[in-house]
Symmetry: C2
Subunit: 238 residues, 2 copies
DNA sequence: AGAAAAATCGAGCGATTGCTCGATTTTTCT
DNA sequence: AGAAAAATCGAGCAATCGCTCGATTTTTCT
């Protein structure tokens, strides 16, 4: 496949070399004091098992419906083993949220600084968001679904992250109008519904996998949809 | 306010005279055998208290995070009192889901049979969905968030309901193409993202209320957004 | 190989869970 | 007013919860 911006999922995946292992390394580095395990290799291996198990259980019961015995069985670690990584169940939730958000935030911000005209930047922003959510889908899904289960402080943090993404889109739309490239619409509402369409990709995975719709196809569709609303000239495809 | 189709939220609300009381009456009628209470008036009053309390608690902790003691305290009924209405916590969840879905299904189907050209029918469908979700927002939110907590049977039921709505939209889009009114797009994907934008209205209430965006304004925005993608001639506004 | 360090284990603690049921109160009859 | 029916109550049961900690196993040293 080849698109206007040259960005494809395969290329993206290669460039960033993301994956759950990097995620777990981040968690380990940022929680060295509380995690009782010393060796990175051991920690990363078990954190990965814990997270996988958490996502698997929570996608069925939700975080509060998951018991630590459930998690122990599913992850293969003992009760005591689990508590060598997290001081409490609550801390597991918060860590998962915080590190996930931080990870996503970092990548989106890098992306948002990339130059080009508004149209290009919109394309890149949409694709980056979709690609990220494709690679670490369980994190995105978990964050969204369990935001309400968090403490007030952590929940506010999540809402702020949600608005941050929306604002990145908003800025691009406004830039487009300034450059005479985009029509002058209700940007706030537009950014909001664009966000909801981006989220649908990781929230309704069951639907899109069954229909065998690739992330690139979804991305191209979204871009076309948005551009037909915003672009004054539907210019130069392909 | 006055729109092309003459449909406004106020008018809708008046016509259907919906509200939680009708909802609770439905629950009572459909569960006469299991509910130990005889008098409708008493049952409806207490069911209303139970549901309100459930939504309030679950929006913070999720269904599995809510204990029956939480529910007892928040609703003002005793433990024994609660179990006069539901034989188990699980049954409360299923009833809430089933009756909610049935209620929504009924109204959307009635709407979908209304005549007119594709453009009009699309407008009416979007507005009806938004208006319904505005009136019984807690039900929509709860259904969406707790679908994963349900038994396989009930979960499949929810997914089917989700696809039902999508199909209603899909049919209208295809009709529009046949009538030469709509462009020939990827209807399946279009219906899917339209659904996600409709859902955003009840999932992100915190955002839209803070920004003081009315349901009518949101509806008009969505319609404009979709029509710019689909309509061959952006014809006759107002 | 033997000792020190690191990692893993799971029985058991007190608190909380979903739920029951006999006692009590309120309402509706004659 | 008094009896029958309906509605409400909450202490208490067995099961499960989050979590601890001393014992045990595995790994890494010299």
């Amino acid at each position: 496949m080849s698109f206007e911006d040259g960005l494809t999922f395969d290329a993206f995946q290669e460039e960033f070399r993301l994956g759950k292992e990097d995620f777990c390394r981040d968690v380990f580095q940022e929680n060295r004091e509380t995690i009782q395990i010393k060796k990175e290799k051991t920690a990363v291996k078990n954190l990965s098992r814990i997270f996988d198990a958490t996502f698997r259980i929570c996608s069925r019961k939700g975080f509060r419906g998951m018991s630590m015995r459930d998690l122990s069985q599913e992850s293969g670690l003992s009760m005591g083993g689990l508590y060598a990584y997290f001081r409490s169940k609550e801390e597991l939730l918060n860590t998962l949220q915080r590190v996930g958000n931080h990870f996503i935030h970092r990548h989106l911000e890098t992306t948002s600084r990339k130059g080009g005209d508004a149209r290009q930047r919109l394309r890149i922003m949409i694709k980056t968001h979709l690609y990220l959510s494709e690679i670490v889908q369980p994190w995105f899904y978990f964050s969204y679904m369990e935001a309400k289960s968090m403490s007030r402080k952590e929940r506010d943090f999540y809402k702020q992250a949600e608005l941050f993404t929306e604002n990145l889109i908003l800025k691009i739309l406004k830039q487009g109008v300034k450059e005479g490239q985009f029509a002058d619409q209700d940007h706030q509402l537009a950014a909001s519904v664009i966000k909801s369409m981006l989220q649908d990709w990781y929230l309704k995975r069951w639907k899109y996998s069954k229909r065998e719709i690739s992330v690139d196809r979804y991305a191209e569709f979204l871009i076309g949809f948005i551009e037909s609303f915003y672009c004054l000239s539907q210019g130069s495809e392909g």
